[in-house]
């Protein structure tokens, strides 16, 4: 596995360095003061350096690193989600439970590889018990809106996100002890697809995909990004249990889900009247702005691998 990891790190380093140098040259040649797009591009690339560095560190700590990192990502994402949506004073204990019980318990289930409970704890137990607690409080004002927002919050920020470290619990024959590479594959392909869609959109974007939901998504960006990230998936087949063709198909499905995740996240933000989920990551917005695609891709990727590749 060491060999594959070295290649990935060198590859990411080369890509980010190229991006930084390109942005630097563009900024030097561009008329001053720099346009907002160019400033944002530089901020985004700088944030990528930090994110890749953090991921790499977590990677070296293996199962511990991944579980803790994604629990923290869930925390940041859940905080953004709950901040944005409506809640009332009487929801205090339910909200506390989401942070204090649901996150730790779900990640404990990931840690102990208790698959049976991992897949139903949130969609069954939390789904039924949280509205029950809310009803017991007796405050029925905008009840359905409040409980729906809570369900969505933990499904998106905790349940879906926890499927990334849960990849470590899968038992793929002939791929033992190398599951970290599945996480690397998923993240590189899905985040890479976001970047590629952005690049293709900026270079060739003409036809809006869905002007009502997200003005920045274009057909050109989508198609270019998906084709390129499927190729990227095939290129990364050597770190996976997949053949190159399978890898590109899996990457295509994951990135399509990622695109839909971005679209749904945009719809929620638009509904709530904000542009970004937060300000955690300079140039990108909040944690959910960066992870919305991963959130939708992770469970599907997890189940594809589990269904077709595990015993």
């Amino acid at each position: 596995m060491r060999h594959e990891i070295s290649i990935l790190i060198i590859g990411l380093f080369v890509v980010l360095s190229t991006a930084s140098v390109t942005a630097g040259i563009l900024s030097m040649r561009a008329p001053k003061p720099l346009s907002a797009t160019l400033i944002n591009l530089t901020q985004r690339i700088n944030a990528w350096w930090v994110m890749v560095a953090l991921m790499t560190v977590a990677f070296f700590f293996g199962r511990y690193g991944m579980t803790i990192l994604f629990a923290l990502i869930s925390f940041a994402a859940l905080r953004e989600f709950v901040t944005l949506t409506h809640s009332r004073r009487s929801d205090h204990w339910v909200l506390l439970g989401m942070f204090g019980i649901v996150i730790p318990f779900q990640y404990w289930l990931v840690w102990t590889a208790w698959y049976g409970l991992f897949v139903i704890f949130i969609p069954v137990y939390c789904f039924l018990l949280m509205p029950a607690i809310t009803a017991l409080h007796g405050d029925t004002e905008r009840f359905l809106e409040r409980v729906s927002a809570q369900q969505w919050a933990i499904m998106i920020s905790v349940y879906c996100v926890s499927h990334v470290p849960a990849l470590l619990t899968l038992n793929v024959p002939g791929f033992e002890d190398r599951n970290l590479l599945l996480i690397a594959f998923l993240i590189i392909v899905v985040q890479g697809s976001d970047v590629l869609q952005y690049i293709f959109g900026k270079l060739f974007g003409k036809h809006r995909f869905s002007p009502n939901v997200s003005p920045s998504k274009t057909w050109e960006g989508l198609i270019g990004g998906l084709v390129a990230s499927s190729l990227l998936g095939a290129l990364l087949a050597f770190i996976t249990p997949f053949s190159p063709l399978q890898a590109s198909a899996v990457a295509f499905v994951a990135c399509t889900m990622g695109f839909l995740g971005g679209l749904v996240a945009s719809a929620i933000k638009r509904d709530q009247g904000v542009k970004d989920w937060g300000h955690l990551i300079e140039g990108h917005g909040g944690m959910l702005d960066r992870t919305d695609s991963l959130v939708f891709a992770a469970p599907i990727f997890f189940h594809i691998v589990r269904y077709f590749w595990t015993v």
Partner: protein
Amino acid sequence: MSKLSLRTYTLLQTVTSVGLSAMAWAVTGVRPIWSGTEPSDRQRIYFANHTSHGDFILLSACLSETERAKTHAIAAAEYWGKSRLRRFIAQDMLSSVLISRTWTSEAEHPISIMLSVLDQGHSLIIFPEGTRNTSDELLPFRSGLYNLSMARPDVELIPCWIENMSRVLPKGQFLPVPLLCRVVFGAPVVVGPGEERRAFLQRARAELLALNPRPDRDD
């Protein structure tokens, strides 16, 4: 402060203030929005909406460490002076200044206590609603803000809108829900020439309300 040596006392306050600011950031990711003014070492009275015990911690977490050391929150003696523990937390750890809503002597008059703090060159954080607000509307302001400004016209009055704290730590709860908070610092409010007390208080209240970044929200 009587039983503690001065050094222990300063150390305690520094540790508490750094610790609380770090905690405020970890829980609420608090960000200052300097919309009408900039951070400054000028003497100021920060006045803010009040819904939670966490309010002044959030506000002071937005100030630089040197500013924080010389900025004192005004708290109600009726609540914070009730027991020795509360008094220790409020006065010794948080270096807030206690005032009584029902004073008996002139020396205990809230305005004279606040003026004596200002005269040491320090800044104040006050909540002109006078109590933690549990309603959806900003309460009418008490007249302290006006009296302080008339007595010390050189001190800047800065309106500060504290967002979301009523959801993080509502009145009556002791565990905070981690939600993102912002503190919006507005332009200084000045008493106009000949402006009468009530008109000024209404205007100050309106200026504070205008800072709310999401006025459409109803929670």
